[in-house]
């Protein structure tokens, strides 16, 4: 049982990082971005490519990577943020002017398919790993064994979430981002250039998604479908937590991660993805605003 909880938290960390970007784009740009999963995939694969050229120093303790990988994470997140902005400029910005609200969502489906196939084209369809080294799981509590990589993932996820919280509540740009998400027109009137905030949303959302993807690559594996497989649980997390709420996305990510992980105790693992949707549907039926969402 305890082992499943630990595994759930690790998966939850990845889902939460992805769901934050999803909830931000939904709230500020007013559409469900189905290509968001591909930001996780690209983040993971950018890191794979960068790790191939930027690998120096010994591994840190019992981690399967060294200091250089931290640099790789930062660079991969930056590249993914760039990709997100590029996608916005080429596809979404044009469609935002259209009156057909669903155009953005459908376009994001298309972008998702296209990006996924670009990954297959460049890196091939086979699974990859950052390291061939065997990560040894250590007992940390009675009945709970985790690898040092997994501890790293959870700690870094927590650090990033605290950093995001401080950014949103203490900085001028962070407050402006919350202001735009609250009331675009009023934010404009107070002097906020909304185009800059939209860029910031892609940087924060894309960057965090990339880190989430790298975490998945570290703790599971890299496959071109990884982001696509995670997009629906991430949506479930964002909706469960209350769409639009960053803290809700984090909480929702943890709940979905735990639920999926714990479900295998009782039911066949093949049904695992259904758990996320079961929870999401239940939430929409009984408490549609989500755990931390705004009540209308």
């Amino acid at each position: 049982m305890a082992q499943y909880i630990a595994d759930g938290i690790i998966l939850g960390a990845t889902l939460a990082l992805g769901a934050i970007g999803l909830t931000l784009t939904y709230n500020i740009l007013r559409f469900a971005n189905f290509a968001h999963g591909e930001f996780l995939t690209f983040g993971a694969y950018f890191a794979l490519a960068l790790a191939g050229v930027l690998s120096f120093g010994p591994n840190l303790g019992s981690l399967t990577f060294g200091w250089s990988f931290l640099l790789v994470i930062v660079l991969a997140a930056a590249l993914t943020a760039g990709l997100a902005i590029l996608l916005d400029v080429v596809v979404y910005r044009v469609l935002r002017r259209s009156d057909v609200a669903v155009a953005l969502v459908i376009a994001s489906f298309g972008a998702s398919l296209m990006l996924r196939n670009v990954v297959v084209f460049i890196w091939g369809p086979q699974p990859d790993y950052y390291s061939r080294a065997i990560a040894i799981a250590h007992p940390i509590l009675p009945g709970v064994r985790v690898t040092t990589d997994e501890i790293f993932v959870v700690v870094l996820a927590a650090v990033l979430m605290v950093a995001l919280h401080l950014f949103l509540t203490r900085t001028r740009m962070g407050k402006a981002m919350r202001a735009v998400s609250d009331n675009v027109l009023l934010a404009q009137v107070t002097g906020v250039n909304v185009a800059n905030i939209i860029r910031l949303v892609w940087i924060v959302g894309g960057g965090l998604a990339a880190v989430g993807g790298i975490f998945y690559g570290l703790t599971v594996q890299l496959i071109p479908n990884m982001g696509f497989n995670l997009i629906l649980p991430m949506f479930a997390a964002a909706i469960l937590g209350g769409i639009g709420s960053v803290y809700g996305a984090v909480l929702g990510g943890l709940v979905i991660g735990l639920a999926e992980s714990l479900s295998v105790i009782w039911i066949d693992p093949g049904y695992k993805p259904a758990i996320a949707f079961g929870l999401m549907l239940l939430m929409l039926l009984v408490y549609p605003s989500g755990l931390l969402g705004e009540r209308p």
Binding site: R172, K175, D182, N183, A187, Q188, V189, T190, V192
Partner: protein
């Protein structure tokens, strides 16, 4: 003639291509004045104030602020030029605290936050008690105060008020308009668009009546109150002023 704080000339504007809501509107606000634009629903009052605030591009004509042409400036540049705008509805950041709302008012010059907040609490002492509350939880009157205080954070030269009495009880309407007069007394020129003619004209120096996208009647506030033609234009009926 001295330079106008705001001068709107022959403005044509609208939302849908080919449909003009404003069809050649002109008005003038002198420094230190309170001027009210009245008119029935659909006359283009809100459209006019949106054009001045930079939220809607005009098709022709001009808007000048102390002689400077601001016709083509986008809304996010207006605050730095000294124009504070208080929209009619959703005029606070509901999820942000009162104090964060005020801070947003000084977004383009964060060094002015301290002084602005002190001034806001001096003008609206009640707000201090709610500074850590989400603005969306406040009553309509309190939200209106937050909205006005936010627009005043950077000591604007001109404040634009869109229907400040909307949704407020008669008692609160009086209170809000008293505050508007206090704001003028600290040196801010004010343009109001209002349906509530009596309350707005009571504190105004001059007024304009807008109908069908054009300014029809203008004059000192007291005269407009007594002008029967205004009542006709305004209500389309002989019921006097609301």
């Amino acid at each position: 003639m001295s330079e106008a704080a705001l001068s709107v000339e022959e403005v044509v504007a609208g939302y849908v291509p080919g449909v003009d809501i404003l069809r050649g509107v002109g008005l003038r606000v002198d420094p230190g004045e309170i001027v009210t634009v009245l008119g029935p629903n659909g006359a283009g009052k809100s459209t006019l104030i949106k054009v001045v605030a930079g939220l809607l591009r005009l098709r022709s004509g001009s808007v000048r602020l102390f002689g400077e042409d601001i016709s083509s400036l986008p809304a996010h540049r207006m605050m730095a030029r000294g124009v504070g705008y208080v929209p009619q509805t959703q005029n606070v950041f509901a999820k942000l605290t009162v104090e964060e709302n005020l801070e947003m008012g000084a977004y383009v010059n964060t060094r002015a936050i301290r002084r602005g907040i002190e001034q806001a609490y001096a003008l609206f002492p009640d707000l201090q008690r709610y500074r850590r509350h989400a603005a969306g939880r406040l009553s309509g009157g309190q939200r209106q105060m937050v909205a006005i205080a936010r627009a005043l954070m950077l000591q604007p030269r001109l404040m634009l008020l869109d229907e400040p009495s909307a949704g407020l009880s008669p008692l609160l309407v009086g209170h809000v308009f008293d505050k508007v007069r206090e704001v003028r007394d600290i040196g801010v020129t004010i343009l109001i668009v209002e349906q509530n003619a009596k309350a707005a004209l009571a504190i105004s120096d001059r007024g304009y009546v807008l109908a069908e996208g054009q300014d029809r009647v203008t004059g000192p506030a007291q005269e407009l109150l007594e002008n029967p033609e205004v009542g006709e234009l305004y209500l389309g009926a002989r019921r006097g002023l609301a």
